[in-house]
Symmetry: D2
Subunit: 431 residues, 4 copies
C-alpha cells in the first residue's frame, strides 16, 4: 500500500475503507492479491449491475478486440455504435413506447448531467434549475451546483449559481406536500425563485441516503413541470439500468421525463459510458456544441449492446431483480425489528436498499466490521448514516444470503459494543 | 446511416465530416463496413498516439480480461493501479526529476481540468483563473469558462465566471509581449483583474488552431506565476503523451508547472482515462472530495502501463517522433511555398502541425476532398481555418508519406477551383 | 405632460397612476398646478412619515441654509453630523438599550442593503444570504438578488446569485412552520442550501403586499440565526421610523438584529439619507471600503436631527400613531365585512395597512377612482392586488377620515361595476 | 471627535485625512467649528463644481422651501421636474444637437451606472460589459464589478462577474494601441472574451489617478462599438458638469455615447441627484422596472435648473474654466520641473489635474502638510500616488493662487524631508 500513499493524492477515498489490493473479480466476488475473497455489496457504486467480468460481456470484449474493432471513435459512425443504437431502440425504447433521441456525452455521469442542463437552458432561455435536497449529480461545476452535499460543494471555490434547492419527497415529513411548496414558489411572480428551465430529480437518491420519491410525488412533479412549462430531467445514473427492477427507475410512476441521464451500469462491464436521452423536439444542439474526447468509447458500446440483448429481451431479468429485492427487504425488516437498540429504519427500493441509523457512528462500525469479515459495503447519506446494499443484480442467491449474514453479524457485533443506554433505550429514557 | 439520423442527437459532429460507417482499425488505418481503407490523420483528436489497436496494448487487454482482472475499481487499490503508479513514477517522473502526486479524476480531460481549478482555488483562497485566447479545456461548466470558442460558450446558458481571458503567445503579433501585459494587469491593484488562483495554458493549442507558445514565453509565464504566487497549470491533454516529442509538451521549455492535466493518449488504447499531477505540497484534498464513478478504469491502467513500459523506457520513441515531425514540417513548408494562391502558413510543433489558410472555406474544401481520397483529417481554429495533421505517432513511414500525398492532391484540387484572382494574387491586387 | 412624454424615459411609473403636475404640498395634502388638492395616502412610499414640508423640519432647513451650513460633506466630520449622531444615540439607541455603530452609506435604501450584505459576507466568510418571498430590498445588483418580484429581477440581465429565497411568515398557510423548514435546510449538510452569511427580513413587507411577520416567527428566526451563527439583518427602510408605532418595526418582537438598514423617512423631510446600524463587534470595515459621494448629505442630517428631537423625545408620537392605526384598522375591518363581493382581507400593522383583493383588477379600479376623487393611494403585492394605506403619521384626524371616506366611495363604485356573480358570490357558487 | 469614534463605523474615511469638525462653507472655503478656514481643493470629490452654498442656488432653495414646493416626489410629475427637463433640453441637449431621453435613477452615481448596464444588457441580450483598468463606477454590486480597485472589490464577498477589464488609453505605454487589442479580442469568436453588451468608460479617470483618454482613442473606441454593435456608455459622473470645460467630458472628442451617466455636480448644490441619458431607441424599460425612493429629489431639481440657467446659457462659464485650467496646468508644470527630486508627472485635463508621484508616500506627505496649512486636497490612483486638484470651478482667482501656494509649500516641505539620495538623484544613481 506504500505505493498509493507515496504517489496517490489524498483525495483517494474507498482505498481507506477497504484497505487491501484487489486483483481479480467475478460476478459478486472480489479477490485481493493475497487470495482473500470479498462479497461485493458495492458493485462499483452501482456500475456493475451485471457483476464483475460478466461472461457474456467479457466474451463480447474479447471478440471485438481480437477482431480489431474500433475502440475509440469520437462521434464518427461505427458498426458498434449502430448496433448499440438499434439495440437500445429495440430493447428499451420501443417496448416502453418511448420516443427519444440519444446523445453520447463524455463517458461520465456528470458530463451527461452537464449536457442536460445546458440543453434545458438553451431550449427555454431560462437560467434557474431546481434540484432537490440530498441530490447528487456529479462534481464538475455545473453538476456540482445541483449536488446537495456540502463536502463536495465546499471544494468548488466559486459560486454555485443558478440553482434552487427544494425539499425532496418526504424531506419535511410525510404530512408536508413538498410539491405544493415548490409549485407555489415557482408560480408566484414575487417569490424570488425564478421560473426554472428544468427540475432534476433522482427517483431514488443513491448518494443522498436511499431516499425514495413517492410514486404520486413523481407524478405530481411531472404535472407541476407541465403546468409551468418546465422541463423534467430524471437523473437515472445510479437508479437506472435495472437497479430498481425496471430499466428506468421512473417506470413504476408512469411518467415521461423530457431528459434522462444514464451512465454507470449502462455499458454493463464497468467501462465508462454515458448517455443523455432527449425528446426529439428538444434537440436544438448545433453539431459538436457539446463534445468530449471519449464520447465514442466503442468498447463500451459493444458490452452495452450485449447487456441489452442478453438481459432486456424479455422480462425475466426484471423479475429476478424484484425477487431478490423482496428477499433483501424482508431481511432488512427483520434486522430493524431484531436490533431495536440500533435505531434503524429501512430505506430504498428494488436492489437499492439499506438501513438508516440514528447514529452515523454505528453505520460506520457496521461497514468496518463487515469488511473485516469479507463484505464490501459502504455508507451514504448526508451524514454517512445509511448502510447501502448495492450488490450486483446478477448475484447468486446463496452469495446474497451469505452477504446478508455477514451484514447481520457485523450489526450484532457493533450493537454489542454500544453503551447500555442505547441497547435498552426504553429503560434509559431519562438518562 | 439512417439509424444515426433517426436516433442520434443533432449534436453529432464528426459523422458529418466523415460520412461512412467504420468497422475496424489498425495503427493508422481505419476500414469502413464496405472494406474501404482510410489513412487516419486525426487519431481520435490526439487520443491514439500509439495507433489503433496497438498490438502491445491489445495483448495486455486480452490477457487482463481473460484473467478476470478488475475492470472497474472506483478508487480502491488494485494491482493494475499499483502497476500504473509504479510505471508512471519509473518511466516518467523519475527520469525527469519531477515530484508530483497523481489524482485519478473522472476519465475525461474536462474532469481533470475541473479538478485542477478547484484545487488551485482551494489552495489559494482566490476565485479568478487566467486562461488564454483560443484555449480549449473542455465543456463542463468549470472547464467551459476557461474555453475560448464562442460556439461552445454560447451553449452554457449561464454566466461563465471567475476567468480572465488573456492574449496567448503571439496573439497580438510577435512584437507585443503578452506576458508583460498580463504581468501589469495582475500586479496592478487597480486593474480590475483580480489576482488569480492559477493560470492555465496549453503549450500548443490543439483545438485553437495549432498556436505554439514560445519557449521563452512559457518561461516568462512561469516566472510571472512565481512572482505573484499564482499556480501554473499546464493542460497537456492533447499536446502531451509524446505528441510534441517529449512526454510532456513543456519539457523543452524547462518549466515546472504546479498542476498538469493528462488524458487522451494516456491510456494509449483509446480507453477513457485522465490524470491530474499535482505538486505534493498542494495536496489539500479531503478524501473523496472530488470523485467520479469511472476514476478507476483499470483496463485503461493496464494499457497505460503497457504503453509506458513499451514506449518510454528509453529515448527511441521520442526520437522517432521528432524524425517524423521533421518530415511533416518540411513537407508543409514545401506546400506553403508551392501553393502561394492558398495563402497558407505552417503552424504547430512536433507531430501536431498543420496549415493555416487565409480563407476557412479553402481549409474546409481540402479536408472534404481528402476524405473522398481516403484521408481522415480535420480543421481546427476559431474559424476552422487550420488543417490539422494529427496522425498516430506510430504511423509507418510509407503510410505517412501516402497520407501527405493525398493531402497535397486535395490541396491542389481545391486550389484549382479558386477563382483566378486568388490563384494569381499578384496580378489581381487592384481587383 | 408633453414635456415628460418627450423627455423622460418609459421607466417612469407613478406619473402614469397620478397624471397631473404637482406643485406644492403640506403635511398630507398635495396640490397640483391647477390648484386641485389631493389627500396623500402614499407619503412618498413611506418617506414622508412626518408629512410634506413639516414646519419644524422646514424651519431647520431654512436656518441651516441661511447660515451657510455645510450641505455636502462626504464623510468628513461636520457639526450637523455630530448633532445627528448624538441625537440618534440619545433619542433612539439609549432608551432602547441598543448598542450599535452607524454607517452612513450612499443615501438610498438599496445602498444600505448592499453595505449590509457585503459586511455580513466579509464577517462570516460565507456567500449565501437568505431572503424571503415577496421581499423588496432594492434594485442595484446586490439588493436586487434579494428582491422577490420578477418584474425587477427580469431586468438584471445577469445571474442573481448567492441568495436562497425562503417562504416568509405565513407564506405556506398558517399551519406550516416556515422557520422549521428553513432551519432544516440550513442545518442539513446535504440540503444544497449553503450555510448563509445572513438572513434579511422585513417585519412588514411594504412592496410585497403588507405581509406581516408574526412576532413569534421573528423570535424563532432570531433563534435560528443564533443557533447557526448566521447574522440577522432587519431591513427597516419602509417599516421603520415610526411607521408601525415604535421607531423600529421589530421592537414589539423584542429581537436584536445584528444589522439594521434605515432610509426613507429617516431624514424626515424627504431628503435622501440612509443608514446601516451594525453591532460594534461586526465593524470590520477598512476606511473608505464602502463609499459613496452623497453619504454626507448634511441637510438631511439637520432635518433628521430635528425629527428625532421633536418626535422621539417621549412616547407621545408613538401613541398617536397607534391610535390612528386603530382607527384605520377598524375602518378596514368594516369595509371587509360591508363589501363581501370585493373578497378582501385586511393586511398590515400600524399605519401600514391595506386591503388585499382576490382580484387585482378590482384593487386597480379602486385606486384609479380614488385618484379621480382626490386621494393618492397605490397598490402593492406580487400581483398588485393590495391597496396600501400609507398616509403621513402626522396626518390630521379629520383629513384621515376624509381620505378613508374617499377610499370607501371608490370601493363602493368599483364594486358596483362588478358583474352580478361577484356581488352575490354565495348564490353563484356553482357558476 | 469622540462622538465620531464612539458611534461611527470604521468605514469612515475623509474624517481621518481632515480631522476637524467643519461647520460652514462658502464657495471654495470651509470653516471649522473653531473658526479656522480651509481652501477646498476637493469640492466634495467633484460634487461642488459651483462651490459651497452658491448664492444663486441657495436662493433657489430658500424660495422653493418657503413656498412649500414638493420636496420628495417619487417619479410623479412636478413643476420642479418639468422645469428641470425643459432646462436640460434647452441648455444642454439642443445646443449640442443631442437627442436623448432622461431617466431619473436613485440619486447616486452608482445607481445610474447600475441602470445603464441593466439597460445595455436588456437591449442587447448579452451579459458581458467591458470596463477599463483603474475605472471607478461605484460600489453597489453591479457597479462594483466594473470598478478596478482591489480595495473595493475585495469587500464584495461574492463573484464580480460578467465584466472584462481591458487596458485603458495609454495603460500599456503610448506605443501600444489598446483599442486594437480590445478590437481583436471582441471580434475573435475564439478569444474567450464574449461579445459585450456595452463598453463603459470615463474620459478622465477621477478616482483612478487622473488618467486621460486620448481624443483619438475615444473616437476609435466609439468606432469599435459601432463596428461590433456594442453600446458605448460614458460615465461622466466625476468628469462631467463642466469639470473639464464643456458640460460633458467627451465633447472635445466629438463622440456620441449611447448612454451617459451624470451625478455629483448635477444638482449643483451638493444635493443627491443622478441621471441616465439614453438614446431614445434604447428606451425599452417597462414602467417602474428600475426604481428608487429618492429618484424624485425635487429640491435637487430646483438647484440643478438654477445651475443650468445661470452657468450654461452661454459659453462664458466654460471659458472661465478653461482659463483656470490653463493656470493650474502651468503651475503644475512648474512644480514638476522645479522639484525633480519628487519625481512627478502632471496628469489630467481641465480643472481635474494633479501630480503623480513615483512614491505614494510623498503624495501622502504633501496632502497631510497641506491640510495643516489650510488646504483640503486628496490623493487618488491605484496606489494613492496622485495628488488631485479638484477645486470648485467657481473658485475666485486669488483663492486659487493661494491654494496653489499652499500646495507648493507643502511639496517643498515634503521634499525637504526626503533622504539625500532622492533629492539629488543624478548623483545617487549608483546608491
Amino acid at each position: 500500500m506504500r505505493t498509493f500513499e507515496r504517489l496517490e493524492s489524498e483525495v483517494r477515498g474507498y482505498i481507506r475503507s477497504f484497505p487491501t489490493i484487489f486483483k481479480t473479480a467475478r460476478n459478486a466476488v472480489l479477490t485481493d492479491q493475497h487470495g482473500h475473497d470479498y462479497i461485493d455489496f458495492l458493485a462499483g457504486a452501482g456500475t456493475l449491475n451485471y457483476g464483475h467480468n460478466n461472461p457474456v460481456l467479457k466474451q463480447a470484449v474479447l471478440d471485438y478486440v481480437n477482431a480489431d474493432g474500433i475502440v475509440h471513435g469520437l462521434d464518427m459512425a461505427t458498426s458498434a455504435k449502430k448496433d448499440f443504437l438499434n439495440a437500445f431502440e429495440q430493447r428499451i425504447l420501443k417496448p416502453r413506447h418511448m420516443h427519444y433521441k440519444l446523445q453520447f456525452t463524455g463517458p461520465t455521469g456528470t458530463n451527461a448531467v452537464e449536457a442536460a442542463i445546458k440543453l434545458a437552458r438553451k431550449v427555454t432561455g431560462r437560467r434557474n434549475v431546481v434540484a432537490f435536497t440530498n441530490g447528487f449529480h456529479g462534481v464538475t461545476l455545473g453538476a456540482l451546483s445541483l449536488t446537495g452535499n456540502r463536502k463536495y460543494r465546499d471544494a468548488a471555490g466559486v459560486a454555485l449559481a443558478d440553482v434552487h434547492h427544494a425539499p425532496y419527497s418526504g424531506y419535511l415529513g410525510m404530512e408536508v406536500d413538498t410539491i405544493a411548496i415548490l409549485d407555489k414558489l415557482i408560480g408566484d411572480p414575487s417569490s424570488g425563485v425564478d421560473l426554472p428551465a428544468a427540475v432534476i430529480v433522482e427517483c431514488v437518491q443513491g448518494e443522498g441516503g436511499l431516499n425514495v420519491a413517492g410514486l404520486n410525488w413523481l407524478r405530481h412533479l411531472e404535472q407541476l413541470c407541465r403546468r409551468h412549462q418546465v422541463l423534467l430531467i430524471v437523473d437515472d445514473i445510479q437508479a437506472g439500468c435495472g437497479r430498481t427492477g425496471g430499466f428506468f427507475s421512473f417506470e413504476q410512476a408512469g411518467i415521461a421525463p423530457d431528459l434522462i441521464t444514464l451512465s454507470k451500469s449502462l455499458s454493463g462491464f464497468g467501462l465508462p459510458m454515458a448517455l443523455l436521452l432527449l425528446k426529439p423536439e428538444l434537440d436544438v444542439w448545433k453539431p459538436g456544441q457539446h463534445n468530449g474526447t471519449f464520447r465514442g468509447n466503442n468498447l463500451a458500446f459493444v458490452t452495452a449492446t450485449a447487456a441489452l440483448d442478453h438481459y432486456w429481451a424479455d422480462g425475466r431479468f426484471q423479475r429476478s431483480v424484484e425477487f431478490k429485492a423482496g428477499t433483501v427487504g424482508a431481511f432488512l425488516d427483520k434486522l430493524v425489528s431484531n436490533y431495536p437498540a440500533a435505531q434503524m429504519t429501512r430505506r430504498g427500493r428494488g436492489l437499492m436498499q439499506g438501513l438508516a441509523f440514528a447514529d452515523p457512528a454505528l453505520a460506520d462500525a457496521v461497514t468496518s466490521i463487515a469488511f473485516q469479515n469479507g463484505l464490501i459495503i459502504e455508507t451514504s447519506g448526508g451524514r454517512d448514516e445509511v448502510v447501502k446494499l448495492l450488490m450486483p443484480l446478477t448475484i447468486e442467491p446463496e452469495r446474497l444470503l451469505a452477504g446478508l449474514d455477514i451484514l447481520e453479524g457485523a450489526l450484532a457485533e457493533a450493537v454489542s459494543h454500544l453503551p447500555a443506554r442505547f441497547v435498552h433505550p426504553n429503560q434509559e429514557v431519562h438518562a
